[in-house]
């Protein structure tokens, strides 16, 4: 793999990480204020649809962006009403919002455009076009440019405005959360709402503000998917990105800079998955890694309870068996032979990593203390 290919993969990682990052920061605001949000996915989808629909009919991508934010905010309002005012179950509300978006976007777009649940493809003007930074060489001449020029032109230049905006959101989120009064209160309301209430600050107001910010960011994320990453809305186009953003949020332990890292990593998985159909690894390395994982699990559970031994030991045994199978099936060709890593393995990595982090084997992820609990004011 040469330098330019690497740059291209990183470039597409950045583009694919952008919706994750925006949704992840959206979830960060909401969850830091104590409102769990499973509905990131639905909000992104609704925003993607409405932004594409408005951009297609008016020809203005900015109106589309506004409409997308509006759609996402509407769903946020439902979530706020259910989980703040009516003290309903936040998880169930989020699930309902996901289905509402999945259903409504198709029903409405089918009625509106009659193209089987898609919007018409967006022409220029209806899309966020890539911006060329000053001095960047065009794509045709890039192979002749020097490495620094390639780095600048391929990786830093040529993204849409929303990519740069999303990257700027990271320091902004950090600043708002950790350096402003609003941020302090927002974090406090997720840890101990009673204390915030005692200080005479409105818990309900703060939580609605957080849910509102979450709506705006999800709206931008959705609009980015439909008007920058792709040219138009397709049924179910969010394809689980909201859940990956949620995974990234946990992976990042609810912190903005970590969120950037997590989203870039998950974006990198997407990019690798898009670019390389076959990833080859020597058979000995693959079975070796699996065997080592299995053995370390065995070592870990040696002095634990019976349940630990059954579950984790079983997992270790499973890994060891897979390793043995790989070794046996490659004996003929020799252990140095290259075998293909299944594509689904790369695709499942974000989820597996999140489970590992949640399990607390690699640094413990501790959510905001009052997350998921409605606040009942004392009378």
């Amino acid at each position: 793999m040469d330098f330019l290919t690497l740059l291209q993969v990183l470039d597409s990682s950045l583009r694919l990480a952008t919706p994750l990052l925006l949704a992840c920061l959206a979830g960060l605001f909401s969850e830091r204020a104590g409102i769990f949000d499973i509905g990131l996915e639905g909000k992104m989808l609704a925003a993607a649809f409405l932004s594409a629909a408005i951009a297609a009919t008016t020809g203005s991508v900015w109106l589309g962006l506004l409409a997308g934010i509006g759609a996402s905010l509407l769903l946020s309002a439902i979530h706020g009403l259910a989980s703040i005012t009516l003290r309903g179950d936040q998880i169930i509300s989020g699930v309902a919002i996901n289905f509402l978006a999945a259903g409504l976007t198709v029903v409405i777009s089918q009625d509106w455009f009659g193209q089987g649940g898609r919007t018409p493809p967006l022409l220029s003007g209806g899309r966020f076009e890539p911006l060329s930074l000053p001095g960047a060489v065009p794509a045709k001449e890039i192979s002749q440019a020097g490495p620094f020029m390639q780095l600048y032109s391929e990786l830093f230049s040529g993204h849409s405005l929303l990519v740069y905006g999303a990257l700027l959101m990271v320091p902004l989120t950090w600043f708002v959360l950790y350096k402003t009064r609003f941020g302090l209160r927002l974090r406090a309301v997720g840890e101990n709402p009673a204390a915030v209430d005692t200080a005479g600050i409105s818990v309900v107001g703060l939580r609605y503000a957080a849910v509102g910010i979450c709506g705006v960011l999800c709206g931008i994320a959705g609009a980015y998917m439909a008007t920058a990453l792709q040219a138009g809305f397709v049924k179910d186009m969010s394809a689980g990105r909201g859940f990956i953003a949620l995974a990234a949020l946990i992976f990042a332990k609810w912190r903005p800079w970590y969120a950037l890292g997590a989203c870039l990593l998950f974006g990198f998985f997407f990019a690798v998955d898009n670019r390389f159909q076959n990833i080859l690894l020597p058979a000995w390395a693959m079975s070796g890694v699996l065997l080592a994982l299995g053995c370390s699990l065995f070592a870990y559970v040696r002095n634990k309870t019976l349940l630990d031994r059954i579950v984790l030991g079983g997992l270790g045994l499973g890994l060891a068996i897979v390793a043995t199978l790989i070794t046996l099936s490659n004996l003929n060709a020799g252990l140095g032979s290259m075998i293909k890593i299944p594509v689904v393995f790369i695709q499942s990595l974000p989820y597996v990593l999140t489970v590992v982090v949640l399990a607390g084997f690699v640094g413990k992820a501790i959510p905001p203390r009052s997350g998921g609990v409605a606040y009942v004011k004392e009378k």
Binding site: L86, V95, A96, G103, D111, G240, V355
Partner: protein, 364 residues
């Protein structure tokens, strides 16, 4: 003392929620430019007035009973199992392995074997998140969501790899041997002398298995010490712990029963209908279980009724998509509204009702 009588809580709240959901859907149908009355008539004609309509409806109902019961059992322990979809996918893998690699003499043996396979695979897939919740404190909602995606990956891996017959392009297993095929309602009807009943409908004998599961779950939850412990855990974990009920054990057991029920959904779709394992055979039924359990108030009888309702909506929705310009996704919207009003916004329905009963009582 409760403000409302029990019947109002059990019947009135879900019913009013359903009526609100129906009204909103009617508005949506109006907005599309179709008539809600005509749509309802079409749904009833295509579902209830034809025996094959019943056959399709009961086929969907069977799925929803299993997944609804699965969510219910977890709800009783105050756990939210959102991973029914993934557990059902793994259940399908279990059914496929049992049906493909064990030579069954007759379907009646095969269905027992397939049930075990589905239940064990579903159980394992729910057991891991349960373990992580019980021992490591990882939030079960998040882990079960992640396990849904991982299950989809695992299923995909086997269907494009090891389990795909040589030379086939389809991501699916080979057809199951004929001795594992379950009798459909059509077969059963013609055996009893009713020819031309349930023509070509996929409903099969696993519907009765679902009914048995309803009775068993009722018995488990309300008539056994384990059920008592599960409910005690669900009401208050500290109180249950004080009474000597181990939370680790209850989380594990409740989730594994839940996973087994989700997994058994695959008997209906995989062994009963497609007769081979295909991708996306769950078709979101794992998620519909959430709506079914909420609507049925986590009681097996309620789950059965709600599953019938959703079976009707699914078959009716297919009819609508066939004959009008209302797409199938309308049913997803209805499902979302039902979840919203029975689950998240229940105070909106319950609050006014409680005030009504309060004022009635004060007057009387």
């Amino acid at each position: 003392m409760d403000i409302m009588p029990k019947w109002a809580d059990v019947v009135l709240v879900p019913l009013i929620s359903l009526i609100i959901a129906a009204l909103l859907s009617a508005l949506l149908i109006l907005a599309i430019g179709e008539s809600p009355v005509a749509a309802l008539k079409l749904m009833i004609e295509g579902t209830l007035l034809r025996s094959s309509g019943w056959g399709y409806m009961l086929y969907y109902t069977t799925n929803f009973i299993f997944t609804g019961l699965a969510v219910s059992v977890a709800f009783h322990a105050a756990l939210f199992n959102i991973g029914g979809e993934g557990q059902a996918m793994m259940g399908g893998l279990g059914v496929a392995l049992v049906c493909l690699f064990i030579p069954w003499p007759h379907w009646s043996f095969a269905i027992i074997g397939a049930s075990l396979g589905a239940a064990v695979f579903g159980m394992i897939w729910a057991g891991l998140p349960a373990y992580l919740q019980a021992k490591r404190g990882s939030h079960i909602v998040i882990t079960t969501i992640m396990f849904n995606f991982i299950a989809a990956g695992v299923l995909n891996f086997f269907l494009v790899g090891a389990l795909k017959p040589k030379g086939s392009m389809d991501p699916a297993t080979a057809n199951f041997p004929a001795s594992t095929h379950l009798p459909t309602f059509e077969d059963m009807a013609s055996l009893m002398g009713f020819e031309k009943m349930f023509r070509a409908a996929p409903a099969n004998v696993s519907f009765f298995l679902a009914l048995v599961a309803c009775v068993l779950v009722w018995f488990l939850i309300w008539r056994t010490p384990l059920g008592y412990e599960i409910r005690a855990m669900g009401k208050s974990e500290p109180a249950a712990r004080y009474a000597g009920i181990g939370s680790v054990k209850i989380i594990m057991v409740a989730m594994m029963i839940s996973g087994a029920l989700s997994g058994m959904m695959a008997i209906n779709t995989t062994q009963g209908e497609s007769e081979r394992l295909i991708l996306n055979f769950t078709e979101g039924a794992g998620f519909i279980g959430i709506a079914v359990a909420l609507m049925g108030r986590s009681h097996p009888l309620g789950v059965l009724l709600a599953a019938l309702l959703f079976g009707f909506l699914y078959q009716g929705g297919a009819e609508l998509a066939l004959w009008t310009k209302i797409p199938r996704e309308l049913i997803v919207v209805i499902q979302a509204l039902v979840i919203l009003f029975t689950g998240a916004l229940s105070l909106m329905v319950r609050g006014p009702l409680e005030r009504l009963f309060l004022s009635l009582r004060q007057r009387g």
